[in-house]
Amino acid sequence: MLALIPLLPFGGFLVNAFLGKRLPKPVSGGLATAVMAISFAIAVMQVIALAGMAPENRQITQTLFNWISVGDFSLDLAFRLDALSAVMILVVTGIGTLIHLYSTSYMHEETDPEYARYFSYLNLFCFFMLVLVLGSNVLVMFVGWEGVGLCSYLLIGYYYEKKSASDAAKKAFIVNRVGDFAFILGALLLVVTFNSLDFTTIALAVKQMPPEATFGTLSLITLLLFIGATGKSAQLPLYVWLPDAMEGPTPVSALIHAATMVTAGVYMIGRNALLFEHAPITLGIIAAVGAATALFAGTIGLVQNDIKRVLAYSTVSQLGYMFLAMGVGAFGAGIFHLYTHAFFKACLFLGSGAVIHALHGEQDIRNMGGLKKHIPITYWTFVIASVAIAGVPLLAGFFSKDEILFETFLHGHQVLWAVGALTSFLTATYMFRLVHLTFHGEERFAAHAHGAHGDHGTHGEQPTGEESAAAAAHHATHGHDQPDHGHGHGTGHGHGAPHDAPWPMATALIVLAIGSIVAGYINIPHALGGHTALNAWLEPAFNATNCGAPVTTGELAGLALENCAPGEAAETGDHTALELTLMAVSSLLAFAGIGLATFLWLKNRQIPAKLAAQYPGVYNLLLNKYYVDELYDAAIVQPVKVVSTEGLWRGFDVKLVDGAVNGAGYFVSGISIVLRLLQNGSVKTYAASMFVGVVAVLAYYMWR
């Protein structure tokens, strides 16, 4: 039953990949969406079954077959559902279903084969993501890990005829390889150390060991695994591929580059929570990298002008939060943020897709504005998600972000807490800058609607007059078969005005917006009278067993621990005041950020420009993303190119390899020039040489 969850999308992939060319769009898109929906239903059933078990043995394992058996090392291809993977499969299948649904409408302009290709990739991605999440050992996880990387590559490069898209795809793939290399080294080291790759076996083994005070094997393993995570989850220094990944279709950005795949690194750390807990040095590095990434990406997000890029940097920043949580040992908080983030970030990306769709490929927020009244559904869902990510109280992002900040502070990382709080302020600022520039203020899109560098690539003919109005009405009900353009008419009012999302897109947006509001309520902190139910649910997964086992660290003290270890509850209670204070601080920061954004980008639009003019150095530094891409280009890409061109190509290949091959040829033909003279066709010469030969042989035997 468990295996069906990943296998259903795989079936959808097979059908769309091999028969997709002949299938009409409703069939291929509908099939892809349906398998995801069924997969989601099965996942829900499985999780309900899981919840019915006692907390200490909440685990469903399905072994498909024995994969590797060498000596005393044995590895199964097995899927395992536990508290942690339960959260993940619900996120993957649930949000995956919504995004499939959204895509059926968003990709409507594609031809039948392209449409099927898109959905086959999307299904394949979900298959690999579910393998990654459900895998019961590191190797199965690695299969999924590589598979989602492949699908990410395929989908970023979906518009492969566009050079920037194929370049971005290659960049994503290659940067990920750097991380994957470290990941597989870590996995090999795990085999050497524990003679097993099964998560539970490793966790139980590591439980017997004391935490490493100095840098030892466990620290090395976890550090290597973390480097793998920085590649997949876009952390410093390997985050550079994610902003470029926005070249893919927007629903892909929502699913892969915001909600699911990029959180794989966080999930992997949560999966190996005990292992990481025993390597405090690595945890410190993770926390520092996470906080640094959060701040770094947040500042870049402040000045970017591409709607999807702002969201991409926001994603990097939020992933930084998750790693910060993992790094301070608050695994529950990290997974909680992963889960809430999936809702509001998917909603934001799908909303941006709806905006881009409404403007026929326009992605530059400087050419937007005033869209509020044209596309109300998109507007309201986008605002809800923005409020959620900004950390305004009582929405999803508030609970998860505050828990991370609280845990960070609680574990004595005041500096990291300050960085996190500052980032939370930045988050609110850049998100509302985006909202204001996109939806509020004067309309700037009319005259620019054609300057598209977006997803759609091609544009239909420009309708005029009544035709355009009719087309707009048509689109309002049907969708987007043929883009119309309001530009050239001065205002855009009435003539091909932006139209709101059609129902499949609207459904996805609304569901995700509701999720952005309510998702946080499953983990209400103690300070607000809740029971941190999600932490309690995840607790056994992080500790490999149940509450009967000794807990090495206090931060996992949740409901389950309260039940079996009453002493812990009092400890949690002591921090109520602190938690409330921190909440107040970060809420204030969120409101301050929103206020600042409103002041700068809605009320006084000239101030940002003045600031930019006054501090061109800072502005350009941010606008050019700290020149990191240029730095990598100079430090890595160009040297590699030079070494490859001058050293490997012109030096090694041309001189040495070709030289050896050609030299052998010249040597043989040079000798031949001499030897050829012997074969002159004269019988007498042949006879003479035979005679000489016979004499030589005889002479040899005589004087031997």
Partner: protein, 99 residues
């Protein structure tokens, strides 16, 4: 008469034959020179047979003579063929035995 004398004669005859093969410019003379070499060898065989008191040398001589007759027949036939082909009996004229 000691064996050495026979062998010296045989060697001389063989050398003359060899020199003939290399130096003469007529295919028929070449064949004759080859016959001379064969007969030098026959002489050596017979001399050895006499020396050791066996008939082996004489028997093998008969074989060689048979082969020589066959060889002469085939050789002369080839010579006639070649002459018809090239109007020449000079071995230098036949240089097509190469790639």
């Amino acid at each position: 008469m000691p064996l050495g004398h026979y062998l010296v004669l045989s060697g001389l005859l063989f050398a003359i034959g060899t020199a003939g093969v290399f130096l003469r410019r007529n295919l028929i003379t070449l064949l004759l020179s080859v016959e001379l070499m064969l007969n030098a060898v026959n002489l050596a065989f017979v001399a050895f047979g006499r020396q050791f008191g066996t008939v082996d040398g004489q028997i093998i001589t008969f074989f060689v003579m048979t082969v020589a007759a066959a060889e002469a027949a085939v050789g002369l036939a080839l010579v006639i063929g070649l002459f018809r082909h090239r109007e020449s009996l000079n071995p230098e004229a036949f240089t097509s035995l190469k790639w």
